[in-house]
């Protein structure tokens, strides 16, 4: 029977740099492609509601402000968002997606109302030469 087999491993770490970081003062970088919070480019959005339909957490709400103007309001409820980025995948705009994810991860706050983000925008017209955006068939092309 061996005794104290862990000893060399323990002593080796005594003067090594700790594996943990002093978090609130020192932050680790998140990798490229980290899924943070979704946000909208209101100038590209064609208001097809594909993201609203596919969002598993029902965190996206799009309402039409007035019939004549094609004015829409989009609210992202970040307090419900599960950061799956399905809205980015579902977004049919090409080549630039109207929905994108940022890299923020410190989302805690004292009031859930501050987590709602809101955009009021005029619907962008799909370009003629681009493929007509059909809301019924959300493309499942992978994100880069």
């Amino acid at each position: 029977m061996k005794v104290a087999v862990f000893l060399p491993e323990l002593l080796r770490h005594l003067f090594k740099k700790p594996a943990t970081v002093d978090y609130p003062f020192q932050k680790l970088k998140v990798p490229e492609g980290f899924r943070g919070t979704p946000f909208l480019h209101p100038d590209i959005c064609i208001a097809c509601r594909a993201c609203e339909r596919d969002c598993p957490a029902e965190a996206i709400v799009i309402t039409q402000e007035s019939d004549v103007e094609k004015k829409f309001k989009m609210v992202i409820h970040n307090d419900r968002c599960i950061h799956c980025a399905q809205c980015v995948d579902s977004c049919p705009t090409n080549p630039v997606k109207a929905m994108e994810m940022d890299h923020l991860y410190e989302l805690a706050c004292f009031d859930r109302h501050t987590l709602k983000t809101e955009w009021v925008f005029i619907r962008a017209m799909p370009k003629r030469e681009a493929k007509p955006a059909a809301p019924a068939a959300a493309p499942l092309s992978p994100a880069k």
């Binding site: 061996k2 087999v5 862990f6 594996a19 492609g33 596919d54 598993p56 799956c84 493309p139 499942l140």
Partner: protein
């Protein structure tokens, strides 16, 4: 003198709510009873109201540790229902993430076993090294816990050369570390003394009580869905099914460490033979009326989903069987005649992942010593009374 000890629903040894009630004599357990239902979220009902795409993320949230397992099990079933065949590269990446998840889950379990046995250094070291695989998963998928890699018809993100290199490097580090733990953990006398002979489950009992996963394999049953019913890529990948014959917690530890080694091999194989091509095909919105049983070997054992479609965008029925539920009858058997000191170890050895039910409170009334089941409504009333009598008035009011 016999008395009842409640372990849970809230207890430091349990990371999730479940209630174990032990009848003990001195330090020896004579009987055990299990009460579920503290974490039921009604997901099977909810799944009937969501469309096929939304349900991927719903099934992913059944569990935090084996999130990819449930999503993969669901997705491979739905792909059969929709009659689509994902491209090879997509499948390879999907099961690469599966194996990485198995690695992270087993490393997590090793740490938890160390913690339950009071060996905190082992816990800290394994969890430090688990960060390596967590970082890899974050780089691949963009998140540490809910990878969201699956989509109907393939995966959502591709791997490039630099990332493949990083994963291979990470695997080398992990392999070294695991071999070290295997050597060290198996020869630290206080640790082995706590694990050996604890939680005995004979092979006959394991078969009769339908144990699955490492719990069954540690009792000498060579059952592994990856080999028995190869799903997707597993008939192309060489690997061994790891078993042990000691039928105790030490055996379960050994099986998990061996499985870690196998998973490193599988990951390497998948990365070195990664085919070129697309990673996903387009999936239809609806599925024809049909039914499918999808099986998947999760880190904790066999995962089974039964999916029935009715021609609409939504499933008619989604039944989920998580491996932990299958291991509960065996756990009760293991606990009998053990020591109080071994409860957390035995219970942790099935790697419980409690994703079941909610809303009841069972407690021993400390004043009379009688065991009563207090209803949630009554408990809230009691809390209200306590609050009304309390000398300090808080001005914040709970909104419900």
């Amino acid at each position: 003198m016999k008395f009842n000890i409640p372990i849970g629903p809230q207890h430091p040894a349990l990371k999730e709510p479940i209630s174990l009630r032990m009848t003990v004599e001195g330090e020896v357990i004579r009987d055990a009873d299990l009460r579920l239902g503290y974490n039921h979220r009604g997901m099977e009902k909810l799944a009937e109201e969501k469309n096929w795409t939304q349900n991927i993320y719903l099934t992913e949230r059944i569990c935090g540790i084996c999130s990819h397992s449930h999503a993969t099990c669901y997705v491979q079933g739905v792909e059969k229902l929709m009659e689509i065949e994902p491209p090879k590269r997509g499948l390879y990446i999907r099961y690469l993430v599966s194996e990485l998840e198995r690695i992270h889950s087993h490393l997590l379990w090793l740490g938890v076993a160390g913690h339950e046995a009071g060996f905190d250094s082992f816990f800290m070291y394994t969890w430090r090294d688990r960060e390596v695989v967590m970082d890899l998963l974050e780089m691949i998928s963009g998140n540490r816990v809910h990878y969201a890699m699956n989509t109907l018809g393939g995966v959502r993100r591709d791997l490039d050369e630099a990332l493949i290199k990083k994963i291979l490097d990470g695997l080398v580090v992990l392999k070294q570390r695991s071999e070290y733990y295997f050597k060290i953990g198996a020869s630290e006398p206080t640790f082995v003394g706590r694990l050996a002979g604890v939680g005995y489950l004979s092979k006959e009992k394991a078969i009769a009580l339908c144990a699955v996963g490492p719990t069954a394999r540690a009792s000498g049953i060579t059952a592994d869905v990856r080999r028995d019913d190869p799903h997707a890529v597993y008939d192309e990948v060489p690997f061994d099914v790891c078993t042990a014959d000691s039928c105790d917690v030490l055996g379960r530890t050994v099986v998990r460490i061996k499985e870690l080694m196998e998973s490193y091999k599988i990951c390497e194989f998948l990365l070195r033979n990664l085919p070129a091509g697309d990673i996903a095909v387009k999936a239809p919105k609806k599925a024809k009326p049909n039914e499918v049983v999808s099986r998947y070997e999760a880190p904790r054992g066999e995962n089974m989903h039964y999916i029935k479609s009715n021609g609409t965008e939504r499933p008619e029925r989604l039944k989920v069987r998580a491996p932990t539920l299958a291991n509960y009858p065996a756990t009760i058997e293991m606990l009998k005649n053990g020591f109080i000191a071994d409860i957390p170890l035995i219970f942790a050895a099935i790697d419980p992942c409690i994703c079941c039910a909610e809303r009841t409170v069972e407690l021993v009334n400390a004043r009379s010593g009688e065991e009563t089941v207090v209803r949630f409504g009554d408990l809230r009333k009691l809390a209200g009374e306590r609050f009304a009598k309390s000398p300090v008035k808080r001005n914040a009011v709970w909104p419900f």
